[in-house]
Subunit: 439 residues, 2 copies
């Protein structure tokens, strides 16, 4: 076995890139032991090389802001992109592929938008793209779907793919904090960014879901096809009422091959799940993904979805897998990447069939419940449970209803109708109850 | 891409083999889509071919009890061993390797005893052995350790690797059944065999742990090196007292790189873990494995550890991975299989340092606790909690003590001493409390 090191080019040296550099330096001997040859950083492309003069893991002279110099670096068969974003990063990725360099990337946004095109380009050039770090950080979920579960028709994915949201929901659920207070705390502790929109809106999770669902269902799905609803409008009252019924609230990224209607149902939204479900025990900033296969049944993968070293763990495993040659071999031999498949048919969100939790602020007076259930009944929505949580004759009090399985479009129309009643205050709250398959 | 099918030879056609045959027939098109070529059963070696005349998934004429005929089958580059056991099955495995056939196996007993020798033999012949199904059934944990977590020094494995035991413990914990009643129920429902010894003694889990720890720590470990203690002596009273303190009991298979003492600590035993730990939520016949890596932190893998289709899911994924060529490439290129490493240094079980739960049936009279704690104190074991659960002057009542971190050998000596006191009845009960690393 040759002792020549594998030399990588690094694009970006922020949190994740710094973690990669640290692992490669500190664990050099471990990786030599496993791969047979050392992995070395040949060049680092960053916006401001001056900032990295005292980086403890990479010599200052390896940093450059000159893309031409970076791509001219000789003997650099792998480019590792940990900068994030699209635009010029997409151009760098394409340039690496044009040069027949393998790409290891942590960039979910890029892959959720341009994945199939980039995979096809890599295939045409005889190289590969490895992207374990793009979804759920250190959890080897891409690997599990591609190589561990390939004997299965995947029925569904249910994931907690955004650590920021899960941290906030855990603080609300377990410590009774308001959304605003929990977000403040997450920002203070570094679990949320100054602008948390991508995280709390569900869009970050939607991008990861699009990538994983593409692999699980052997099809092409872009991030913008995922129906998104965030956690920023959640009320503590609903979390409490749900808990009384045995449910925990989670921001779930869901892909179901048969969620009702035609095509794959793709959604990211706050949902109630039974508190005995393993996913309900995923707390704080942890991530998890449940994959249901027709043969294997339920499997779940749990771990840190972000952070310098957990994400670098996935990036470096990809580097080892690419450098050893097995991943490029698999990339060429198996038809499990989305460039080999057509565009997915996505179900209309209104066609989703599910149970729902409803909270309606209704006047505490005779006949109100009858009015509400009459409207629901006309829409063919039956109710399996009702509870009124406060009493005050003539005042508005919260009325909680649990529906049987209903079509979401029908329910939305009925709720719009109910909201117009003069015995109702504000908009009804509607949250999906996900009955995870069990046995 | 060639349209020639990949032809496999199947050794054994019981529960797992039947599941493999079913998947290969029913999902033929799915696998053609992923692999590019069909997978076909070329020959099946069984003890009594007459039994399989009406097998719905394999033609009767493919069954044989003639090993020579089986191994003479032309164009059969992969042998899939799902018969289990050692002895002649080991001979068949060697014969396949001698013929330069790849081996896919679900045989934990064989690999836990002869793995390194078989891996070395495969390597010498230029073929590979894939064995995802040998550990934790359908959970792709071998794949995760070998290819997903390779950037990590693994610190520890904590697994629930025996579904029978977990089913029994769940029935005891959640439904208050006695061990005997829970075992009866497990046998009725097909979750336990008529002779449940391998499962409830911890030996089955020990074999799987030996294989997984070999991969995680890059070393050689045989199943007989794992310190085993079963669940068959567990008393409901201890489960109840533990629950009051916030703990659930689990049969854990544990490999720790630093459990105290020199070398790797390897154990399978009933342990208390905090009920908020994800492992505590693994119920019924499910399996799970937590892997702690120095970079990634805690990861966990959850799913069905046994059963026809979950296990066949892992076997067929291995067939796809071998047939596509990537797994053989990896097997040759990476040094992560135990034949490339030396024999592990195993820590003396007595050197384990942990907290412990103790129950001592002691006379309810002044001075008794002082006698017990004096003996423990002399052995340098300090107590962080004491509770007496019944009162009855002069009678024997259960006294529960929680120790601080102590060396197990010291504790055992002290308990032997305590058992001799005339104010004590029966043997003290001692269960490890595993404080899973968290952050």
């Amino acid at each position: 076995m040759s002792q020549n090191p594998v030399r990588i080019g690094l694009i970006g040296c922020g949190t994740v890139g710094g973690g990669v550099a640290k692992l490669l330096r500190e664990q050099r001997e471990l990786y030599v032991g496993r791969l047979g040859v050392p992995i070395e950083v040949a060049r680092v492309l960053v916006r401001d090389p001056g900032k990295y003069g005292s980086n403890p893991h990479v010599s200052a002279e390896l940093f450059t802001d000159d893309a031409d110099a970076f791509f001219d670096t000789p003997d650099m068969p792998i480019v590792v992109e940990v900068a994030g974003g699209v635009g010029h990063i997409s151009q760098y990725t394409r340039r690496a592929l044009e040069q027949k360099k393998h790409v290891v990337t942590a960039n979910k946004t890029l892959l959720a938008q341009e994945g199939p095109e980039l995979f096809a380009m890599a295939r045409g050039q005889g190289v590969s793209i490895a992207f374990e770090a793009s979804c759920a950080g250190g959890i080897p979920i891409v690997n599990a779907i591609l190589f561990g579960l390939s004997a299965n028709h995947v029925d569904a994915l249910y994931g907690i793919l955004n650590g920021t949201s899960n941290y906030i929901l855990t603080a609300m659920t377990r410590r009774g904090q308001s959304y605003a207070a929990a977000l403040d705390e997450a920002q203070e502790k570094g679990f949320a960014e100054a602008d948390p929109t991508m995280d709390v809106s569900g869009q970050d999770a939607a991008q990861k879901l699009a990538i994983l669902a593409s692999l699980a269902f052997n099809t092409r799905i872009t991030g913008d096809r995922v129906h998104c609803r965030g956690i920023d409008k959640l009320d503590l009252a609903d979390i409490g009422f749900g808990a009384e019924l045995g449910y925990d609230i989670k921001l779930l990224a869901i892909a179901e091959s048969d969620g009702g209607g035609e095509g794959i149902s793709l959604r990211t939204e706050p949902c109630f799940i039974h508190k005995d479900q393993p996913l309900a025990q995923v707390l704080g900033s942890y991530n998890a993904m449940s994959v249901y296969g027709h043969a294997v049944g339920q499997t779940m993968y749990y771990g840190r979805g972000a952070g310098a070293l957990p994400t670098a763990s996935a990036v470096v495993a990809d580097i080892i897998n690419v450098a050893s040659g097995w991943y490029p071999h698999a990339f060429g031999a198996l038809n499990v990447w989305p460039d080999r498949h057509g565009v997915a048919q996505i179900a209309d969100p209104d066609d989703l069939r599910s149970r729902f939790y409803l909270r309606i602020n209704a006047k505490d007076m005779p006949g109100v419940l009858a009015k509400i259930t009459a409207i629901l009944g006309k829409a063919k929505i039956s109710i399996s449970g009702v509870s009124q949580h406060e009493y005050g004759a003539g005042r508005f009090v919260p009325l909680v209803l649990i529906t049987d399985v209903a079509r979401e479009g029908d329910l939305k129309r009925a709720l719009a109708h109910i909201a117009l009643l003069d015995v109702i205050s504000g908009s009804p709250v509607c949250l999906r109850i996900v009955d995870l398959p069990s046995d």
